[in-house]
């Protein structure tokens, strides 16, 4: 074993014996191998293999040409088709017959029809269900009030897009986590943490740095929009102003992952009179 040269370390892992191959009377082979799985347990793998020899007769010249070495631009390429020059195209139909033109025309008509249907479905009046915009509904005056309140009621329960028939803009709605937007957020409990090392993430802040100041309402690290890399500062919302103040006093000017933290209130405190 020591004398053999290991070509690749990936091949060298298994220390188990060579596969145990037995030939069955029906011509199949049973191959039993042992290997360790991800959990470190020894696993026995039994494979039954039937070998089928497919013989293909080719012209001897073709066989000879198959063994030629590549040259020109392909001189150093590996055997087999190169995906940069050779790809399998998408399926194409060849329907032979005199009626192919009609068949093709029908297909096109079908396609046009289905696309029409989609358009019809897209525009539907919320008042009367007709295929026009809601604002242009001819029954706006007569149907408008009743229908609108009906839809409003059903929609609040479903997606809470409207409240009491009033449209709530997206940025004022609660998101999937139940977080309510900035305007209604209590910024008085939020600290701005700057001079963070840029590998620090939300979990580290929540579970490491601010763990002893109770659960946090919200932790947001400001990231570069394109690269997703941290810009080195974060906003941390506490459940009470006292906790926030405690954290500010305890951690401001302390070191964290080789940088000295700088904490401040995210909103300038109004000086209490």
């Amino acid at each position: 074993m020591s004398s053999t040269i290991i070509g690749s370390w990936a091949d060298a892992g298994d220390e188990f014996s060579a596969p145990d191959i037995t030939t069955n009377p029906d011509g199949t082979k049973t191959v039993i191998t042992f290997r360790t799985n991800q959990d470190g347990k020894k696993v026995k793998v039994t494979q039954r293999i039937r070998e089928v020899t497919v013989q293909e007769r080719v012209h001897p010249l073709i066989a000879q040409r198959k063994s030629w070495n590549k040259y020109g631009k392909e001189k150093n390429s590996a055997p087999g088709p190169d995906t940069s020059t050779t790809q399998l195209g998408e399926k194409v139909e060849l329907k032979l017959g005199l009626s192919w033109k009609q068949a093709e025309k029908e297909e096109e008509e079908n396609k046009a029809q289905t696309s029409d249907k989609i358009v019809v479905q897209k525009i539907a009046c919320r008042y009367c269900g007709g295929d026009h915009y809601t604002s242009k509904c001819p029954y706006k005056e007569t149907l408008g009030g009743a229908a609108a309140s009906e839809t409003a009621a059903s929609e609040t329960s479903a997606a809470s897009e409207t409240v009491n028939g009033k449209y709530v803009p997206r940025h004022l709605r609660a998101d999937a986590n139940g977080n309510i937007s900035k305007e209604s957020r209590d910024d008085a409990t939020t600290l701005k943490v700057s001079q963070l090392n840029n590998f620090v993430d939300e979990d580290m802040l929540r579970n490491e740095l601010f763990a002893r100041f109770g659960p946090l309402q919200r932790v947001t690290i400001v990231r570069n929009r394109d690269t997703g890399e941290s810009r080195g500062f974060a906003y941390v919302s506490f459940f009470s102003e006292e906790l926030a103040e405690k954290a500010l006093n305890a951690l401001n000017g302390k070191g964290y992952h080789s940088l000295i933290l700088h904490l401040e209130w995210s909103k300038k405190k109004k000086t209490t009179p």
Binding site: I62, Y71, G72, P81, T86, L88, G89, K91, V92, L94
Partner: protein, 348 residues
Amino acid sequence: MRPIKLMGHERSLTQVKYNREGDLLFSVAKDNAASIWYSSNGERLGTLEGHQGVIWSIDVDPESYLCATGGGDLAIKLWKVENGQCLFTWESPSPVRRVAFSPDGTKLLAIADQVMGHIGTIVVYDLNLDDLSNQNLQPSVIIETHPDSSKANVAGWSADGAFIIAGLDNGFVAKYDSSNGELLDTAQAHGIHNEEKIFSITDIQFAPEDGSYFITSSKDKCATLIDVETFEILKVYKADAPMNTAAITSVKDFVILGGGQEARNVTTTAESQGKFEARFYHKIFEEEIGRVKGHFGPLNTIAVHPDGLGYSSGGEDGFIRVHTFDKSYFDFLFDAERTEKAAASGNI
């Protein structure tokens, strides 16, 4: 069917060709390297490099030992297929439009275009097969364009190598004696089937089984099937766009035409209007029986596998698509064929 897309060329294809056994596919384009592919899996065997510009034509000898190319750089080159080595280069007085080996592989035909003050010629070189890199610079036969006629665009050998048949720019086909270049026969193949103003012949290909007839394609939106011996027009296939290429299939009695809108008009119309499809016609009944889509530019060249198992097309879009026919293709029978078959089996 699922075609194999070959993307080895950087510019539009000018000719594709199978060797005799159909295992190799030769392609040339308006870039300066010819490519040789294994037709079964689309693997590229290699490229032939040495031309300085567009290569208009390629041909391979029956043994797949030698390969010839002719290009716009006024060169005809002879290559060894096995290793891509350039064995010899002839100089041509004008761009070379077409090269073709004689059926026995001992002669090479080349068309020099009628440009730059040169009178269009078809020249025949006798190949020195004993010492390939030492060829005779002087052609054995020179066929010049007649003063009252038009230049040759394409040419090929009849099956026995006795005749050279050329497709001319004025829609005529001409038959020459290959031993001395004497003009034997002419016939107007194009420009008489419709009102089209341009009817130069764009391609000529011989019947795969015995070469006793050939097909020509033309800018006049037609293709014609012509008998070599009598020089009569046997069949006319009418299309709705200028045709750049035509091929005859073996096994089934079909012809495949390719073409489409002129390349310079392509950007001004929708793809569906371009008619960039390979068209299948029944060889005998002259009826169009199917189309194959895929290219997004006009088809410049089509070659049919010698065993009739598939075909390859090269387009202005720079791609080669290698198709292998499905079972339904081989099962297809024309109405008349089906009734005939039924009658035959009923009689027995």
